[in-house]
């Protein structure tokens, strides 16, 4: 391993840690999602024009207004925890899929 690699001593992450995913290429940092959030999950990004920061991921209710009310389609999407991904079956092919 590279001797220059810096390794920090960090506590474990809060999980599930990413209730939503931002697309930085689309999001213009307007903070509308932050304003409408039911649980005060976000704080504004100190860097102007960047998506809000997720400060309280463990408090997200997975309700969706942050996505519904975002003016730029695709800038933010909901990201269900892995253990919350529902499955389905395609009737004609019998194939199985999941979220």
């Amino acid at each position: 391993m590279d001797e220059e690699t810096i390794v920090y001593a960090l506590p474990n992450r809060t999980t599930p840690g990413n209730p939503v995913l931002f697309d930085e290429a689309i999001c213009d940092g307007c903070n509308r999602c932050l304003t409408v959030c039911l649980e005060d999950v976000f704080i504004p990004n100190p860097q102007k024009g960047k998506p809000p920061l997720i400060l309280h991921p463990d408090e997200c209710w997975y309700c969706g207004p942050c996505v519904d009310d975002c003016p730029l389609p695709g800038a933010i999407r909901l990201n269900h925890p892995l253990q919350q991904r529902v499955r389905w079956k395609r009737k004609d092919s019998g194939g199985h899929f999941r979220v």
């Binding site: 920090y8 960090l10 506590p11 992450r13 809060t14 999980t15 599930p16 840690g17 990413n18 304003t35 409408v36 959030c37 039911l38 649980e39 005060d40 704080i43 504004p44 100190p46 920061l53 997720i54 400060l55 309280h56 991921p57 463990d58 408090e59 997200c60 209710w61 997975y62 309700c63 969706g64 207004p65 996505v67 519904d68 009310d69 999407r77 909901l78 269900h80 925890p81 253990q83 919350q84 529902v86 499955r87 389905w88 079956k89 395609r90 009737k91 004609d92 899929f97 999941r98 979220v99």
Partner: protein, 673 residues
Amino acid sequence: MNVPHESGTVLRWPYAVRYGTERDYEADVLVIGGGIAGVWAAIAAASTGAKVIVLEKAATERSGAGGPGVDHWQWAADNPGSRISPEELAQALVDNQGGYRSGISTYIQCASAWETLEEMERMGGKIRDTGDEFRGAEFRDEKTKLLYAYDYTNRFVLRVWGHNFKPLMREQCRRLGIRVFDRVAVTSILTEGGRPGARVVGAAGVHCHSGAYVAVRAKAVVLATNRPKRIWTFSSELRGITTFRPPSCSGTGYAIAYRAGAEFAMMEKSMRSSFASPYAYPPYGSGNAINTWYPCTIVDANGKEVPWVDAWGRPVSGVAARCRPVEGQKFFIMGGGSSSQPHPGLPQHLGPKPIPDLEARMLAGEFVPPFYADLAGMPEMERKAIWGIMVGNEGKTRIPVMKTYMASGFDPERDMLQSYDFLRGHGMREPVLPQERTFGEQGVCGGMLVDWDLMSNLPGLFGAGDLLFGGQDHSHAAASGRFAGARAALHARRSSAGEVSLEQIEREKKRVYAPLACSAAGPDWKELNAAVARVMQNYCSELKNAELLSLAKTWLDDLQANEVPRVSAGDPHQLMRVLEVHDIVTCAQMIVSACEARKASSAYLHFNRRDYPQMDPAEWHKWLVIRKQGEDVAVSDRPIAFWGDFESNYRPRHAENAAAMASASQAASRAAA
């Protein structure tokens, strides 16, 4: 991304912090909780000309259980297509709960849900199939273009496009000049002289971004903060902080009104429920046949249909028959099976459902698990209704289910959604353990006791929405909110402004800011919440007796005395969360006190006292009411239908409300002219 950990840097709190700084305001009517009931109350009060302030913990534009949406407008017996009267429907709803449902707010709902929805339409809400998407559907009225749900013959539940009702209501607040303060968590009700049991003169709370102290003096206060949750279950790891309703609806309204001396009824009722289970899937996001998904067909692994039966177990064949009353019924209420075991309701009012003995028949080899909701196999109009207007507008399904599943490739015309444990003949069909109980996630539950003015025993304190004893639903919140707002405004007209006690404010400030001074070595709010849930699981669960309940009390009191004072908060947001859990402790204590007081078991109340095993003895068929009296709990009771006659209590008040709103709007248009 969890920022401070991942980047190796800790950011400064992004908002200016003003702990202790006091901001004082004055209004005729103060609304606590800008959810569905609260905003309707504010709109009604302001429509009478009253000066109104709303304090909301989250952001009013979307906050509350109904903020993200609504698909069913329940019990609108006053709508033009209804074949039954508000009296008939309200009585059936009350009877269906063995009498343990409020005749007051339920009647207000049945008699004015439609009138309220018409007001929503005037605000811009879509309530009709104006695009003729469902032309010819059995559930559509071709003239009015209204769409109905469940009982297509009697037509008293409407399907609505409610995903943007809340933002439209927020907009109406702006038009009416209502002052809305978002991100203020109310922490106490202010009473005259700071005395519990005295007249209510305002409320105070903390701003969740700045930490400033906000106090409002008002002639009347409407409390509309929804119900307690996170009482028996808590795990932030498993699902959207654990339960069905929004985490911000944490029962604070119950705790602050109780501390102020308000009476609460039916606090002993709680039930085992998938709505409380942290293992449940996103609501209406797995295969089922209730509410939003009614009347969806369920099939087994080989595509074999699960048969449906009526309330008496007679076969119901074909999808269309699931939406019509059967012989022996004039009309039916909902359907699809009830999670409300052991008391699912009266057969004359119960809708069709998939066979309740599916589990036994599967074990005997008749069906092969797993099961699926066969959306692809549903008749086109029903499929388009379920995976369209319903899933597209229901609270918490538009984005989490419809948009997210379709982005992953779900196709309603080709796919069948997985059911989890569709076996037990209960509604949501997911595995539920005995300790996965809920107080208010599901069904009609206990709450603040009110009279026909929707006023509590504390003069000037009104209630609305799910916080009321024995009432529920979005349309109930809307109709009761509108009614309470008008009553509060009329009360304010007749009252002078009361004096806020500075001593109460000082005492409260000391209490609410205390967590900021605690060392971080103590437990945090999540740990305390989980500890409360553990006590309730172990000592106040499915089976109860005097010894267990006394231990519940002992260990809750222990948490209150020894752990609550050690829970620390590092910023204004955490302070809000810590104070919520303090209130959850109070709510749990209220529940245990009520459970101790009811010395009889009851199927209606899902209440099993092993030391009083007889179910529903006649002498205990009554409401139990608790009230805080000093350090003690005063218990009283009320006869089941203590509210008296519906019509003669409702009509004059409704007329007075309508007149007050109409005269103010005429005055406004005269002023504008």
